[in-house]
Symmetry: C2
Subunit: 220 residues, 2 copies
DNA sequence: GTCTATATACTGATAGAC
DNA sequence: GTCTATCAGTATATAGAC
């Protein structure tokens, strides 16, 4: 909301001090969490003194809130963009695959805001989280709407509670920030495994039907 | 490891002060997390003064470590017990269902240690987590061994990396501590949805085969 | 065993010089 | 805009009386 003057919309590279503070905050929050990140940590990483931060932000929680909101917003924007770019007649399955892959990939590449968002969400003070909830709810409702489309098409079971499914789906991906290490696992392999698990399940369909279970989601 | 004298193994009900401190610690850590839980919070809930805690524990981190270990150990014990009690010829699918359901249920019932464990894991100081890792690794390896059995039986794909699958499976369940509220969702419905999602996938098998997708895991 | 009192350190935040 | 200096609050942990 607060924006330094004469800045274009959503600057990709941090130029001013305020953006630099936000960027390093996201990076440090991502690895140290909320409570263990001090204004001094942020200041040092930004190359200023901690008192100077208060020229741009009223409090530590104001920084947290902005990092939280930016994380969700960037995630939302990327997912919607990739979905909107799909061909009109694309199957629900492919649509969901793209959404899941985008969410997962953004969690582990392209900046620290999305990963910091996942970590900060349970750790941040309740008032901050409460204010952030409206942004997060929009994103969740977007997924639920997509799932309802899938139900209408008959691609997924009518009886499912789309809210629970949404929480389970994104939960599987979100939890990966706790264990995924770029040097230890291959991002594409993990993404493919996760998407395959969520779309087709772990158990092989050992019926006569040649259903290609656990053998999909290998595009991109 | 440290145990007050003349105590039987794994006391179910906390009698002594030490056990009471541990129990309230687990409860408070579960809801407030690591950093926001103070020795004073614990002391007050245990009905003593904060200085008295140091008669039983050298430091806050010693409490955290014990809560962390107990959480994983209880989870491990419950899952193994339920698996061992199964009939010899039971299918891999049923086995996995029982394991998943046990893990999920224990996360949300029967004490705060298991839920606190999930929350503390990313928040606790690295040295504490590092010491806890051997316990956690045993539990992960137990799951991976189970998955390998499934591969040997042909129940799940041979090509899957069992470590990644294990992390994805438990991640789906673990993440639920962030959103599951007993008053808002039904535990059995969420468990059934989660297990169905993980075993059979979200997408309907719209082949001719009468494969009962998303229609299982409703025992227990 | 549990207490009171306190040491020590560090936190988020403010005041005001430059 | 960024600094130095500092306040007030609170944290973990210790010392020692009872």
């Amino acid at each position: 909301m607060t924006k330094s003057p004469s800045q274009p919309d959503t600057p990709t590279v941090a130029t001013g001090t305020r953006e630099r503070v936000l960027d390093v905050s996201a990076r440090i929050f991502r690895s140290r969490g909320y409570a263990d990140t001090t204004m001094n940590h942020i200041a040092k990483a930004a190359g200023i003194k901690s008192a100077s931060i208060y020229y741009y932000f009223k409090s530590k929680d104001e920084i947290v809130e902005e990092v939280l909101n930016l994380g969700t917003q960037r995630m939302f924007k990327a997912v919607r963009q990739n979905i909107d770019n799909l061909a009109p007649g694309v199957s629900f399955r492919d649509k969901l695959t793209v959404a899941l892959r985008t969410h997962f990939t953004l969690l582990h590449t392209q900046g620290d805001y999305t990963a910091a968002n996942i970590r900060l969400f349970p750790e941040a003070p309740p008032p901050v989280v409460k204010r952030h909830m409206c942004v997060r709810r929009s994103y969740g409702l977007y997924w639920q709407a997509m799932l309802k489309e899938g139900q209408a098409e008959g691609a997924i079971a009518d009886t499912l509670d789309v809210e629970i499914v949404q929480l389970l789906l994104l939960g599987t991906l979100n939890w990966s920030v706790q264990w995924y290490k770029p040097k230890l696992y291959d991002l594409n392999e993990v993404a493919a495994s996760g998407i395959s698990l969520l779309l087709d399940g772990l158990i092989q369909a050992d019926e006569i039907s040649g259903n290609p279970v656990s053998q999909d989601a290998k595009d991109a």
